[in-house]
């Protein structure tokens, strides 16, 4: 169990670093690759926990995460918003990269403190002390990415990072999610990516841009 704990800790560290990378990188394609790595860290953690806890459901979670987020989501995005992802290189953001990373560090601390009562309540779950605060950090990082990135694809990555965060925490506390819920979640993510990808393509075809942060027609006029 101690070895499993250490390996899970390694995946948790990678999970945080890749999440920070999505906030810090300027390259459009880079954010997609970092999301794939983020999902791989989630897959790795699910396998480690599956072995350590003897839970076949966690192998399902690992398989579903790998097939949907590592394989399907990039393919779906290539189909639906390929031009926007592969055609543009730089991602605009509201704050500079150093300021964003500083705020992300503060968010990580907040997540750690906020997860504390839950970690105490979940003392019976052996990996909750690692996965719950790490997962909450990713939820905060994802929300922050959506808030500071002006680019539609980067905002979508923020949403997906948030979902990864929720699952990273949950695999340590719920290792027997019903198969129906797992399959439904597996369908939900690529469908969401497809629809949002198509929305990005439409925004591009109608407005000529994908910098959704610059769209500001809808305001309460005074």
């Amino acid at each position: 169990m101690a070895t499993a704990h250490a390996i899970d800790g390694l995946f948790a560290a990678l999970f945080v670093i890749f999440g920070l990378g999505v906030i810090g990188t300027r390259q459009m394609l880079g954010t997609l690759y970092l999301f794939v790595l983020h999902s791989l860290a989630l897959t790795g953690s699910a396998i480690v926990l599956g072995v350590a806890l003897g839970s076949p459901h966690l192998f399902w979670v690992a398989a579903i995460t790998f097939s949907t987020k590592v394989v399907a989501v990039p393919l779906v995005l290539r189909y639906s918003a390929g031009l926007e992802i592969y055609g543009r290189r730089e991602v605009d953001q509201v704050l500079t990269i150093p300021v964003s990373v500083l705020i992300a560090a503060a968010l990580a601390l907040v997540a750690w403190v906020a997860a504390n009562p839950l970690v105490h309540a979940l003392a019976a779950r052996p990996f909750a002390d690692i996965n719950v605060p790490t997962g909450l950090m990713a939820v905060f990082f994802g929300a922050f990415t959506v808030a500071v990135r002006r680019e539609a694809v980067a905002q979508l990555m923020g949403i997906l990072i948030m979902e990864n965060g929720a699952f990273f925490a949950s695999i340590s506390i719920v290792n027997d999610l019903t198969i129906i819920a797992e399959i439904a979640a597996a369908v939900d993510v690529p469908v969401a990516a497809l629809v949002i990808g198509l929305l990005i393509r439409n925004i591009h075809s109608v407005t000529g841009i994908t910098r959704v942060g610059l769209l500001a027609e809808l305001k309460e006029r005074r």
């Binding site: 009562p117 948030m162 439904a184 929305l199 769209l215």
Partner: protein
């Protein structure tokens, strides 16, 4: 089988709508009618208590879920009927040469309806979360129907804010899943209430706070409400009716259903306070925004925020157990708000604008649209003899009776402010002299029929509730009050 059919029928209608554009509207209407019939049969089965299960327990229905199911099915019928005439009429209005997404509208309408119908029917909390997430996904392109830059911006805001909320709520769903499962109960609403007294308060309270933020974003609660007026100002009126009438209620339904569990946990002190604060904040902000709004579809969107707040606050001040309180407000808001958006849609066809300042004399120019908008405004503001008057009156009476003087006093003042603001704004539209040279436009027949159908419950349920429906409302209120 009845419960499964409610989900299968819209799925089948989606396939037909994808294959044939010509029959899509009528197949959608027939499907919505069939769903309403089956939903009524299923609701009758639980009207006097108990619950029914299907698909090996994957689907279930109790009093509160049956009430919400009926609302979705009813608004689904009127929205389908309304769309048949409204969409071509709006397309004629669109002058900038951008073609609306008529081809995608009907399949997406059916998928959107199916995902909303799934929310009350599904048993497992994790799967219910997926259904709620799908309501956003399937309605994104319905909000962006007109395909203009503003509509796409509104759709993007809607998807991003509500998806962010959904991810925050997901964290809560999974923690709750652990808690219920660990307590040896099924991961359902009944299981949650049964497990609640034995749960560690943190395992219940943290998910609730995450839900309040996450599902609160979807329900349009302040300060996560910013997507709601934008989406409603850009979406077709039929989609607004679904969004405001029943979709935002799906998220509120989640917040209502967790209430008896919070109240049943001895370690959580005064859970009602969360509901009161969140509710009053939304009512207050919405009431002031209604006063300064410039667009009449945004006006009704702000009114939705106000009503979501009233329902939450009502739960907190003790009206959850009152059968004509929280539950009746939740029930009456759905069909009243859909009626308001149908009326607003007709006014848009008549004038070609949603700017309040540009619209005068609607009553004189189009009595049908004018009277509808006026009656809708009176009803949604909470005046007699309409259904919302009953519930608002009961909520306030319960609050004062329970000794919640400060919260109820504030709620009363804000409801009165919103009442005045709505009637002032709508009064500017319906009264006065219209432009003399403006051509008269024939309103689409199906839309007028849909408006009449939506008017019936809004008016009749203000003074008479059929016995089976009254029993269902009573059963739903008992579930919301919890075992104590």
């Amino acid at each position: 089988m009845t419960l499964a059919l409610i989900l299968i029928i819209p799925g089948f209608a989606t396939l037909v709508a994808l294959c044939s554009r010509r029959v899509a509207p009528w197949v959608t209407l027939a499907s919505a009618l069939a769903v309403l019939a089956f939903a009524s049969i299923a609701a009758l089965g639980v009207a006097h208590g108990g619950s029914v299960h299907a698909a090996d327990g994957g689907l279930s229905l109790d009093g509160l879920s049956a009430l919400y199911l009926l609302l979705v099915a009813f608004v689904g019928v009127t929205a389908a009927l309304y769309s048949i005439g409204y969409l071509p009429a709006r397309a004629a209005e669109q002058e900038d040469g951008i073609a609306p997404r008529y081809r995608e509208y009907w399949p997406l309408f059916n998928l959107f309806l199916a995902s909303m119908l799934a929310v009350p029917l599904l048993t497992n909390l994790a799967v219910i979360w997926i259904a709620i997430e799908l309501t956003t996904i399937f309605s994104a392109f319905l909000v962006a129907y007109e395909n203009r830059a503003a509509a796409l911006e509104a759709a993007w805001k809607y998807v991003m804010l509500t998806s962010m909320g959904a991810m925050i709520a997901l964290f809560g769903v999974l923690v709750l899943y652990y808690g219920i499962h660990n307590a040896g109960e099924p991961v359902s609403w009944a299981g949650l209430v049964a497990a609640a007294p034995r749960l560690n308060p943190a395992v219940l309270l943290i998910p609730f706070v995450l839900w309040l933020i996450g599902f609160g974003a979807k329900a349009g609660l302040v300060p996560m409400h910013t997507w709601l007026p934008d989406a409603h100002s850009q979406a077709p009126a039929s989609v607004c009716a679904l969004l405001s009438g029943v979709e935002v209620s799906a998220a509120l339904y989640m917040l209502l259903r967790i209430y008896p569990a919070l109240a049943g946990n001895p370690g959580i002190a005064r859970p009602a306070l969360w509901y009161i604060v969140a509710g009053l904040l939304s009512v207050a902000v919405a009431a002031f925004l209604i006063l300064q709004v410039r667009d009449y579809k945004r006006l009704f969107a702000y009114s939705t925020i106000e009503h979501m707040g009233i329902i939450l606050a009502a739960c907190g001040i003790g009206a959850a157990a009152n059968q004509m309180g929280t539950v009746y407000q939740f029930f009456a808001h759905a069909f009243t708000k859909s009626f308001c958006f149908y009326a607003a849609g007709l006014a848009t066809i008549e004038f070609g604008t949603q700017e309040i300042a540009s619209v005068r004399g609607l009553l004189a120019r189009s009595p049908v649209a004018g009277w509808s908008l006026l009656l809708g405004a009176i009803a949604i503001a909470g005046a007699p003899p309409f259904a919302l008057f009953i519930s608002e009156f009961q909520i306030l009476a319960t609050g004062f009776g329970a000794g919640e003087y400060v919260a109820t006093g504030l709620l009363t003042a804000l409801i009165v402010l919103a009442f005045i603001a709505i009637l002032y704004q709508v009064g500017r539209i319906v009264f006065g002299e219209p432009d003399a040279g403006a051509p008269r436009i024939k309103l689409p027949t199906t839309s007028v029929v849909a408006l009449s159908v939506a008017f019936a419950p809004m008016f009749v349920f203000g003074f008479y509730l059929p016995p089976p429906l009254a029993a269902l409302v009573q059963h739903a209120a008992a579930l919301l009050a919890g075992p104590s």
